[in-house]
């Protein structure tokens, strides 16, 4: 086997988190290798709903989200494309007075983070967004939130990292990681090997395995948000929308197609998922009362993805507590597209200057150590297989006769 390539940092996972970490590391002059098992941004980061919103996030995430908002505002400078990013506004609808009260409370609590939420009562909602269904009693608008095309944005982060000097590899499944007390040795199934003092675990829903290997097990589960898109429709909606308390969310792209999400799909295998019949029918039946112009429209395609969720729905972001040089950035619970670039930047800062500008304490991996017994640290090589998901529902794939 050939000599390992020496770099300052290896990033496992070419989603938006890993790719932006690689980008910011390269921009700081670090030698970095970005390793992606599949294609860049082909998992959660490339198949998500495309909501680029701060509104509705837990307060703990708002500092990161605010920084991400700045990066998004300068997207073309960072990645060379606008990826159909639009600051269209994000409208969160309330279906009951109780839900409206929750929006009011959120508006108060989140002041100071620059979101400038506007609360709309029923009359103002009707006047401004006449398409909204009558089930909506009011709403909260974040005028500067928006949406983008994840299929274009996320791979572009990896392309930008390459342009900035990172070595980037697709079809490079990291199959073996070890640490000799000085540096990490990282090997891929495709025969590449790297040596680096820093290792960034940005493997999305598959990141738990590596954390476990270094004695930091996390109770991560895989989730599969169901998505659906319509044929192009006359433009009726210029904001991205969501509903307080969850349920259906929808946006309309410039071509006129409406993208909707809601409910959960299921895993076909550890790396692929489908939306599932129940979720699709739920969306088709329930969307019209919120978005009446959808009546009679046709859904042409559905899909899902594989996303990592921790029990508190906060990501793990920051340094390992057991292995110096190891950083984690995973488990974004269905909302990492918007904050992904800021998460990547924070990890890069940790490598370059020892700490990130934004306090990452709320996202420390140590928060699980009281719940789970930590395994003794071992530095022997272990296989990282993409099976860190624990709710995989296998599809029948047997053969009756060989």
């Amino acid at each position: 086997m050939s000599q390992p390539v020496e770099v300052d940092a290896v990033v496992i996972g070419g989603g938006i988190v890993g790719a932006s970490a690689a980008l910011f590391l390269a921009l700081s002059g670090k030698r970095v290798a970005l390793l992606e098992r599949d294609f860049f941004g082909s998992h959660s980061s490339g198949v998500n709903y495309g909501g680029v919103r701060r509104q509705g996030r837990p307060l703990s995430q708002l500092p990161l989200s605010r920084r991400a908002h700045e990066i998004w505002g300068d997207l073309r400078a960072f990645i060379g494309t606008d990826g159909e990013y639009m600051r269209s506004g994000h409208l969160k609808l309330a279906r009951s007075d109780k839900d409206m009260a929750a929006l009011v409370a959120y508006e108060e609590a989140s002041r100071g983070f620059g979101m400038e939420l506007q609360l709309l009562d029923h009359a103002r909602l009707r006047a401004r967004f006449p398409w909204a269904g009558d089930v909506a009693v009011g709403a909260s608008l974040c005028a500067d939130d928006g949406h983008a095309n994840p299929r274009l944005v996320s791979p572009a982060f990896a392309v930008a990292a390459r342009r900035a000097g990172a070595q980037t590899f697709e079809q490079a499944h990291v199959s073996e990681v070890s640490h000799d007390g000085q540096t990490f040795l990282v090997r891929t199934a495709s025969g590449l090997s790297f040596r680096a003092p820093w290792l960034l675990n940005c493997a999305g829903a598959w990141a738990a395995q590596l954390a476990q290997q270094f004695g930091e097990p996390v109770p991560m589960r895989a989730g599969h948000p169901a998505m659906l898109v319509t044929e192009p429709l006359p433009m009726f909606m210029d904001v991205s929308t969501g509903v307080e308390g969850g349920g259906i969310y929808a946006r309309q792209v410039a071509r006129g197609n409406c993208v909707l999400g809601g409910g959960q799909g299921f895993a076909l295998d550890p790396a692929t998922a489908r939306p599932g019949q129940a979720a699709i029918l739920e969306i088709l039946r329930n969307a019209v009362e919120l978005y009446p112009p959808l009546a009679g429209a046709q859904a042409i395609r559905t899909w899902s993805g594989t996303e990592g969720y921790l029990p508190d729905r906060e990501p793990v972001l920051g340094a390992s507590s057991t292995q110096p040089g190891l950083l984690h950035g995973f488990g974004f619970a269905g909302s990492g597209f918007q904050i992904g670039p800021a998460a990547g930047e924070a990890l890069a800062q940790r490598v370059c200057v020892g700490a990130s500008n934004i306090d990452l304490t709320p996202f420390s991996i140590t928060r699980f150590q009281t719940h789970l017994q930590s395994q003794p640290h071992t530095s022997s090589p272990a296989i990282v297989v993409p099976s860190g998901t624990d709710n995989v529902i296998p599809l029948f794939r047997g053969r009756s006769n060989p």
Partner: protein, 458 residues
């Protein structure tokens, strides 16, 4: 009508073409009452598509030489109808762990199954040419459907272009029905047909029919040109003519409609959603669900029959339908006639050899992609041109789903059923990769569009 017993629900057939109908008949003959689902109004499938109930043209007029077979398939379905759970106008739009999702009259329902025969058939294989989105341009199959189903022609002066046996058949049917066939433009050279002769002699009657259509067209003054590259379909607001290249010569011809296709492609989305394993078929130049000689897919309890798992034509579809049903019955413990099953396999092998001959006679125009200009619209739904696809390849992408993600080709209403073949050809040409290595578009529900506000059982 009495409801079929509960056990009937556990065996389901999708597709009431020749394959599905023969499968249903065979199951019933052994005492198993299947549920037969088909999205069209009246069974018969593509080749034996039936006219609306009040139309009164004779089978001879509609199906020509095939009238006897068509009548037999239709009669079989008519007899079966009261004995099985036949559900026309029922689209299967998704499959999930032993359940099919259906749509009928705006209502969604689920059909559980234990055993399933997938007989979803085929549609035209389209290789676009400049001007193909003009009004007045149809696929060969669509032109034939207009004639068979509605009794109308797509135009008064029609050009038939492309290749494959259907090209001559449909041209002949149009001419017989009284339309003016301005020309038949076949992309395959005459020499290919001579080369294919030995293999084609294996099915003398089918060969004879093909030769007959051809001779009839010539005898009736229809110009037939071979080795033709269709250059462009011309017209401002609708078709006014075609131009083509034959050797060094560029020629033009006025017409008001064009029907074109390069043979057929299998409808494989359902097999894909069911989790069937796919393999590259050089003969079909496509990824197809694998089946063993008896019709079993890679998924236990799922069987494949007819053109949906590889193009072999109507006769083979009937044979494969019966065979798959026998295999299914045997697998679940019914007594079956093994000798019959072996005989059917033998028949399929013979047709397969003939099919190879057809591929030699009507070879895929491998230079199509290289000749496609950048400005050519490949994906109508999303308005993606050959140049857009080539640019995506130049950006470093070569896997077809990835190319789709980047430039939207195949993302629209047809979900790549129309443009997928052409897009894959362009990607292979532009990337210099082997066509098989470009991959296949992953199937995604719904197989056909699904309306909002759909009502659902349960």
């Amino acid at each position: 009508m009495t409801a079929p017993p509960r056990q009937a629900m556990s065996t389901v057939i999708v597709g009431a073409g020749p394959a599905g109908i023969r499968a249903a008949q065979t199951l019933l003959a052994h005492g198993l009452r299947p549920c037969l689902l088909d999205e069209s109004l009246r069974g018969g499938g593509q080749v034996y598509r039936r006219q609306p109930e009040h139309f009164k043209r004779s089978a001879k007029a509609l199906y020509g030489f095939e009238a006897g077979k068509a009548e037999s398939v239709h009669a079989t379905l008519d007899q079966l109808q009261s004995e099985i759970d036949y559900r026309p106008e029922t689209l299967v739009w998704n499959a999930e762990t032993r359940t099919l999702d259906t749509l009928h009259n705006g209502r969604a329902a689920q059909v559980p199954f234990k055993h399933l025969i997938v007989a979803t058939g085929a549609t035209d294989r389209i290789l676009p040419v400049p001007g193909w989105t003009l009004p007045g341009v149809y696929s060969l199959g669509a032109a034939q459907i207009a004639l068979k189903f509605q009794g109308c022609a797509i135009g008064e002066r029609v050009v038939f272009a492309g290749s494959g046996p259907l090209l001559y058949l449909v041209a002949y049917q149009y001419a017989k029905a009284g339309a003016t066939v301005a020309a038949v433009l076949d992309s395959s050279p005459f020499s290919a047909q001579t080369r294919a002769l030995p293999a084609l002699l294996g099915q003398p009657s089918t060969l004879a029919k093909g030769l007959y259509y051809r001779a009839w067209l010539t005898a009736h003054g229809v110009p037939v040109h071979q080795g033709v590259h269709l250059h462009e379909i011309q017209g401002e607001r609708r078709v006014s003519g075609v131009s083509w290249q034959q050797g060094q010569q560029r020629k033009n011809l006025a017409c008001d409609a064009v029907a074109f296709a390069h043979a057929l492609r299998s409808e494989t989305q359902l097999a894909d959603l069911l989790g069937c394993e796919f393999a590259w078929s050089a003969l079909n130049r496509a990824w197809l669900p694998t089946r063993d000689a008896a019709g079993r897919s890679s998924v236990e309890g799922v069987y494949l029959a007819g053109d949906g798992a590889g193009i072999m034509g109507a006769d083979a579809a009937e044979v494969a339908g019966e065979l798959a049903a026998l295999t299914l019955l045997g697998d679940i413990g019914y007594r079956i006639d093994r000798a019959r099953s072996i005989e059917l396999q033998r028949q399929l092998e013979a047709i397969q050899r003939f099919r190879q001959g057809l591929e030699t006679a009507f070879p895929f125009p491998e230079d199509w992609a290289a000749k496609a200009p950048d400005s050519l619209t490949v994906c109508r739904c999303e308005e993606v041109s050959a140049g857009d696809i080539r640019q995506t390849v130049a950006d470093g992408h070569w896997e077809i789903n990835r190319v789709k993600a980047m430039c939207r080709v195949g993302m629209g209403r047809c979900q790549g059923r129309m443009c997928g073949v052409a897009a894959t050809e362009i990607v292979a040409q532009a990337s210099g990769r082997d066509i098989a290595s470009v991959g296949r578009l992953r199937g995604q529900a719904p197989i056909k569009p699904l309306p909002f506000g759909v009502e659902a059982d349960q």
